[in-house]
Point group: C2
Chain length 159, copies 2
DNA sequence: GTTGAAAATAGCACGAA
DNA sequence: TTCGTGCTATTTTCAAC
């Protein structure tokens, strides 16, 4: 039996992106405020064409939003950490709500495995980190890994 | 001895953001392509004023970039996972390079603790996940937690 | 997808609070 | 300093092709 690469799994009703869409995404990923006129120049199309393509990428859900990359350190949050959170029996939903209501958790995924939550935490100081984690300690066990740096900065998936 | 809340830790030469800057960040976080004129309307200032503030936020490094939030699922990457990666002795840098050279890893933090790397993985299928993880298996031990959903979608830190 | 015109927007200089 | 006004250049949008 020959092993074959599976085809790209596209959601129903979708078209694969062509090379120009890929370039558009790549350029917008670096600077989403680029004027359509210049984006057009970069991808070798007219401005109305790229504007239409961008609109299509948005309505297709490929582009979920145009947003800003905010540097939490520039805001004084000098410590970042990834926190694995394991609620005590019966406390899953309470803990999830606590996480959501703690603004220092700027991201939290629900995952499989021993620890149902994996959250990204930003704090100004070790003391603040302790405050946040202690607030969970009656309801969950946490494992904290301080972020020392990034090997891969957020990037778009291969197109 | 009285315990006091530490002051907000600002980087040297920086000013705290005022309420209007906070609103600007909050609005741009939702739609970074908003015209300055409308952003101005939303925060109650004139267009040149907000444009100047946005420029200042960029040059101060608070806004690192304007970018797009791309939905990996809309691109066919139907499985996301967080992978903890522990290189075998002496293979730290080799493994880091392997991660960087694997485009399905769309993010990777270097963290303290038993597992030096924590990476976000997107794949089209379980088979593709196996391919990616197997490529690491000679040089590292991995622990994979499949993402079932998000409790907290990426948001900006409290201002 | 392209071109060209109209409308909206951004950028700049200057004045006011 | 920080914000507002008026002008000009650029950009976006919509039409027709």
């Amino acid at each position: 039996m020959t092993k074959v690469k599976p085809p790209q799994n596209l959601r129903s009703g979708e078209q694969a992106l062509d090379a120009i869409d890929a370039r558009i995404l790549s350029v917008l990923d670096k600077d989403a405020r680029l004027p359509m006129s210049e984006l057009a120049r970069l991808v070798g199309l007219s401005a109305p064409s790229v504007a239409e393509r961008v609109r299509r990428l948005v309505s297709d859900g490929v582009i979920r939003a145009f947003t800003v990359d905010v540097d939490s350190r520039a805001l004084g949050y000098q410590i970042r950490a990834m926190v694995r959170i394991r609620p005590l029996p019966g406390k899953l939903h309470l803990v999830e709500k606590l996480i959501q209501d703690t603004p220092q958790f700027i991201e939290c995924d629900k995952v499989t495995g021993d620890d149902p939550f994996l959250a990204r935490l930003v704090v100004h100081s070790i003391e603040e980190m302790d405050d946040v984690l202690e607030a969970l300690s009656d309801h969950a066990v946490t494992s904290t890994a301080v972020i020392k740096g990034a090997s891969v900065k957020r990037r778009i998936p291969p197109l």
